[in-house]
């Protein structure tokens, strides 16, 4: 079994302020995870804003360098401080999908220009027919076609279509890993499932691994194989998605699950979360603790004296 992506004890510290008032923020602390080449999976990172999930994703993409620890992709260290050739090669294997498709595309450029320049750069295609075939192939995978997308500006498409076009662009170099940072949070509820189902079919049919970043536990449960839950830069619980979400063990994971609105008791207006739950979860922020493996395959952060 070979590893596709290996994140080893990675931390990232940001320093803010100048000489007189220096503050450091521990965005990610001691995170480890690995994905294997043989079994493509959807690996979910859950956390609220400020939990460091986006920083972790940026480090995996090589946009930020970890302060300590190492990230390697297929045995090579991930970094943007490498030669152009090597960087391009890495980018062909790991592609990002961003949160807001309306901001990811330049409103003055046509959609097909993005697809075309990606195809030119990564597939080294030069001929019109080859380019069209590559673009159409990628768009077909996401349920669009080149005929639909050609000549269209971003504002002429719906949010769901545009997000699918963004995923199509990421698929052009035939990547083995997609990093999707909250790909559905800006998409309308009725179109959300089409994106989520698409990620699922990418894993099942095209064998692409996906790192899916979200704060929506319901979609995470629906599509992911494994997940980690992050609280203020620390991984607090990690393991099989169903095992963890069916019965979360860490107080913060429990709080998250309790905060998910259910449609079960629609109309009864139950909106109170147990206040003790939130207290228990926030009380643990400052404590270091350590991840301990459990018998059912998950790891949970436990604390001294708790």
């Amino acid at each position: 079994m070979s590893t596709l992506l290996d994140v080893q004890n990675v931390s990232k510290r940001f320093t803010m302020g100048g000489l007189l008032s220096r503050k450091t923020v521990e965005a990610v602390q001691d995170a480890s995870l690995s994905l294997s080449v043989e079994t493509p999976e959807i690996f979910t990172i859950i956390g609220e804003s400020g939990s460091g999930k986006t920083t972790l994703a940026r480090m995996i993409l090589g946009l930020e360098l970890p302060t300590s620890g190492e990230i390697s992709f297929r045995g090579k260290t991930v970094s943007h401080r490498v030669g152009r050739q090597e960087r391009l090669e890495f980018m062909a294997h790991v592609q990002p999908v961003f949160q807001n498709p309306f901001e990811a595309f330049n409103p003055l450029k046509r959609i097909d220009r993005y697809l075309e320049s990606t195809a030119r750069r990564f597939l080294k295609l030069r001929h019109r027919d080859d380019l069209d075939a590559a673009m159409d192939g990628a768009l077909q995978k996401v349920g669009l076609s080149l005929a639909e997308a050609r000549g269209r500006f971003p504002h002429e498409m719906s949010g769901g279509q545009l997000q699918r076009a963004a995923i199509a662009r990421a698929l052009i170099p035939n990547p083995s890993l997609l990093v999707a940072d909250e790909p559905v949070s800006m998409v309308d509820a009725s179109l959300r499932m089409s994106i989520v189902n698409l990620l699922k079919s990418l894993r099942d049919d095209l064998k692409v691994s996906v790192i899916y970043i979200t704060h929506d536990l319901a979609t995470a449960y629906y599509i992911s194989n494994r997940l980690i839950i992050m609280q203020r830069g620390r991984i607090v619980e990690m393991g099989d998605a169903r095992t963890v979400l069916d019965n979360p063990e860490h107080p913060y994971s429990r709080l998250l699950k309790a905060s998910v609105l259910s449609t079960e008791d629609a109309g009864s207006g139950k909106l109170l979360t147990d206040p003790g739950m939130a207290e228990r979860a926030t009380a643990l922020i400052r404590q270091q603790g350590k991840l301990v493996a459990r018998a059912d395959g998950r790891s949970v952060r436990v604390y001294d004296g708790v």
């Binding site: 609220e48 804003s49 719906s158 949010g159 769901g160 279509q161 309308d188 509820a189 009725s190 179109l191 959300r192 499932m193 089409s194 989520v196 189902n197 704060h215 929506d216 536990l217 319901a218 979609t219 449960y221 629906y222 169903r242 979400l245 069916d246 019965n247 709080l255 998250l256 699950k257 905060s259 998910v260 609105l261 259910s262 449609t263 079960e264 008791d265 629609a266 109309g267 009864s268 207006g269 139950k270 909106l271 109170l272 979360t273 939130a278």
Partner: protein
């Protein structure tokens, strides 16, 4: 006691534009008739560009060109007298704004003035409508902040010093400090995390019950409606397609669009394949003939392509605009989802 506070009748609000001699008409609100009762939370659901924002702009009496009211009336029955905001003079509307008719805005980041302290913003909003003397005014604001579980120091803070959840609570505070009878909340929790979202929703509900006012709650997230609203109305392409008590809307929908919206919600504890609705919402500049949902509807018949279905009573307090409402089956049975 179900007294009506708001009566909307045959409301049509169009955007009429004339660029370089080309006339364009966008029918954002097309023939909506509904009532909102005293002391209830009415949820409005619809995707982007369905006209829901235009509709609540009319309700909030914020009608500015190019939007124009083509037909219909929007009658409020406030304590200080009835008012029809579709025809009222600006001075009359000023008289009810904030005191009787209030608005919680989307995106608390851009709503608050970044260079003004929260206390000053409160003064801008509430000083004049409340009409209280200095100390009495201050006491009123402090009492209100306490109810919102905000510390009194927020009055001295700038918006950037507050967290997202606190900022959203401040905007709720601004909208409710005058104890309005009618509050419009436009996606107040869309940008918030799950934990904070639930807190803010609980707060809005609490305040609503405290003041006994009516709230129109707008969001595209059906799970929020499930937990907030007493009644839910679904807007599709500028028309109200279904409305009814929340529980019935979720477990016995009578419009295929609602049935789809409910069925597509993923749940923890259930991994069966969720259907996704294909196609896109129609353009409001050239909506399809007949029922506007027919191009995406699994139940569409020939009649749907030509005749507009009227909004008819299908059950007690439950209206639907579908020719085949009797054939609409809930796609997910209520018992199926088991929460651990």
């Amino acid at each position: 006691m179900t007294e009506d506070l708001l009566k909307v009748e045959g409301l049509k609000a169009y955007y009429q534009m004339n660029y370089f001699g080309v006339e364009r008409e966008v029918r954002a609100v097309d023939d909506i008739t509904m009532t909102i009762r005293k002391n209830e939370i009415y949820g409005i659901a619809g995707e982007s560009s369905s006209g829901k924002t235009s509709f609540i702009k009319v309700l909030a009496a914020a009608i500015r060109p190019p939007m124009r009211i083509v037909a219909g009336s929007v009658k409020y029955d406030f304590k200080n007298g009835p008012i029809d905001v579709a025809t009222a003079a600006p001075a009359q509307i000023e008289g009810v704004r904030w005191r009787h008719l209030s608005y919680i805005m989307q995106g608390s980041m851009s709503v608050l003035n970044p260079v003004r302290r929260i206390g000053r913003t409160f003064e801008d909003f509430a000083r004049r409508p409340l009409g209280l003397s200095g100390p009495a005014y201050r006491q009123r604001v402090l009492n209100h902040l306490e109810r919102l579980k905000l510390p009194a120091d927020v009055l001295n803070a700038y918006p950037h010093e507050l967290s997202g959840g606190m900022r959203q609570r401040v905007t709720i505070g601004l909208a409710t400090v005058c104890h309005p009878e009618f509050v419009i909340a436009d996606e107040p929790t869309t940008a918030l995390d799950v934990v904070v979202q639930k807190e803010v929703l609980g707060l809005i509900r609490e305040i609503q019950q405290d003041m006994g006012s009516s709230v129109v709650f707008v969001t595209h997230d059906m799970t929020v409606h499930a937990n907030m609203a007493d009644r839910v109305g679904i807007i599709y392409a500028g028309r109200l397609v279904e409305e009814g008590p929340t529980r019935q809307m979720f477990f016995a929908p009578k419009h295929p669009y609602t049935a789809h919206l409910v069925a597509s919600l993923p749940r923890i504890g259930d991994t069966t394949q969720r259907p996704a609705l294909e196609g896109r919402p129609p353009s409001l500049a050239s909506p399809p003939n007949g029922c506007r949902f027919h191009p995406r509807c699994p139940l569409a018949i020939d009649k749907c392509r030509t005749d507009v279905p009227p909004l008819i009573q299908v059950a007690n307090d439950h209206r639907s605009a579908c020719w085949r409402w009797q054939d609409v089956k809930p796609l997910v049975a209520p018992q199926q989802a088991v929460m651990a």
